[in-house]
């Protein structure tokens, strides 16, 4: 089945130690997104790729970076994780098609910072 896959599902990192979260998709969608969702809060968009074009949200901290080496893969790099970066990180994809931009979400990676 076509889907959005996130690895790992659970990630523990130390304060200040760089960490990379991975997302892959078999949907062949041209847009990929990264969201941060803290406990009991709404998902918050960090950035998205439209094809190879990177679009950063204005309030996304510089500590967060992303790479999209090809259509299928997208990575979220956190350069120096702080305790406040502990959250669920959700990857999503969408295909530009008419007026519908339905986003398909992966299961998320829960990041713990110790």
């Amino acid at each position: 089945d076509a889907m959005v896959i996130q690895n790992p599902r659970y990630q523990v990192t130390q304060f200040g130690k760089p960490v990379t979260l991975s997302c892959s998709q078999t949907l062949n969608h041209n847009v990929m997104y990264w969201y941060q969702q803290k406990s009991s809060q709404a998902p918050k968009l960090l950035f998205h790729y439209y094809d190879k074009d990177f679009n950063n949200e204005a309030d996304t901290p510089d500590n967060f970076q992303s790479r999209r080496p090809n259509t299928s893969f997208c990575f979220l790099d956190i350069r120096s994780p702080g305790l406040g970066d502990a959250a669920m990180y959700l990857c999503a994809t969408s295909k530009e098609q008419g007026l519908s931009y339905e986003q398909y979400f992966g299961p998320g990676t829960r990041l713990t910072v110790t």
């Binding site: 996130q6 709404a42 968009l45 679009n55 969408s94 931009y101 979400f105 992966g106 998320g108 829960r110």
Partner: protein
């Protein structure tokens, strides 16, 4: 920025009861999405509404967008334990189909 207010924040119903969740926007809605999230998991797309007065149904779930396009409701008929989860409304602003802003969600519990 667009803000979405969801009500109620949480809801406990007995299996078989009907329920409604509301989503109100501070600005005109150009794309309104409903998602469901099980605890600790990703979001599952339910429905998307764009036109004033639009109504869509899937199985026992019906979503409506009011004529003024500032309020949407999600109605579940004859609720089942499988309906339990967090329901999130999300909206995209005019001119951008990518920036999806979510409400804080409504936690639904269905007691058997």
């Amino acid at each position: 920025s667009q803000e979405l207010e969801q009500s109620p924040q949480s809801l406990i119903v007995q299996e078989g009861k009907n329920l409604t969740i509301n989503c109100t926007s501070s600005k005109t809605l150009y794309g309104l999405y409903w998602y469901k999230q099980k605890y600790g998991e990703g979001l599952i797309f339910l429905m998307m509404l764009q036109k004033g007065g639009e109504e869509k149904s899937h199985e026992k779930i019906t979503a409506k967008l009011d004529e003024k396009k500032q309020q949407s409701s999600l109605h579940i008929t004859a609720s089942q334990p499988s309906h339990a989860g967090i329901y999130l409304c999300g909206a995209t602003p005019r001119g951008s189909n990518y920036k999806l802003t979510f409400g804080k969600g409504t936690l639904l519990t269905v007691n058997p």
